[in-house]
Amino acid sequence: MAMNALERKNVEAVTAFIENEANHGELYRTDQFFAPQITEAFTDRSCAVDEILIQGDKVTARILITGTHTGSFAGNLPTGKAVKVTQFREFRVVDGEIIEHRGWFDTGTLLHQIQAVKQ
């Protein structure tokens, strides 16, 4: 079904949240054990929304973070390479207001970019 007006409002709230740099500290937080290393290992970061899905009060964004691998990450020494990291962030949005959200980093494609040899 095509998006209705309320769904469009909820998508706009999520897009605005992600695009606001003041929220980027929160955006790099997930409950994955390595999450605190992300901002230390990858610098010169920028965020862009790749895709957004909405169904009712659920809005999930696929976010593409670009950065430079300048610090150790999960045992991988800095390579100086430009990397792209995918994050999914699931939001619950009621009437244009974000109630809660949780994020998750895809490390499968990230490891491929920073490992010299396949494990």
């Binding site: 899905l53 169904q55 999914f88 490390t107 499968g108």
Partner: protein, 133 residues
Amino acid sequence: MKTIEQMNTETVTAFIEDFWNRNDLNSADQYLSDDYQELSYHSKEGLKQFAANILAAFPDKRYTVEDIIAQEEKVLVRMKVKGTHKGMFFGNQPTGHTIDVTLYRQYRVFDGKIAEHRGWIDMVTMWSQIRGE
């Protein structure tokens, strides 16, 4: 009357159960469209080969769907895979350690057939669990 999202969600959950949990690899021929685009394992055959490799490495593997969001032809699934490392995995000898890893899979469904798939998985957590860290 079911919405297109409900029907597509049912197709995807049935495929996950038959293909990834019941390990009926030939069920792919029934669920996937003739022009299926596989964006993570190269091809339909690549998908079957990957599933066979994962089954050999983790014979008791079990996928649990935790959340699904569907919009029009798109279905995005968050799930967990749990299993015991009992066979070779990317050149690594079996360790007997258990894994419990989150992954996402996104599908596009047209006329009841899955026409596209792409997957994302937390390999840092998975390698850490395989090593028993």
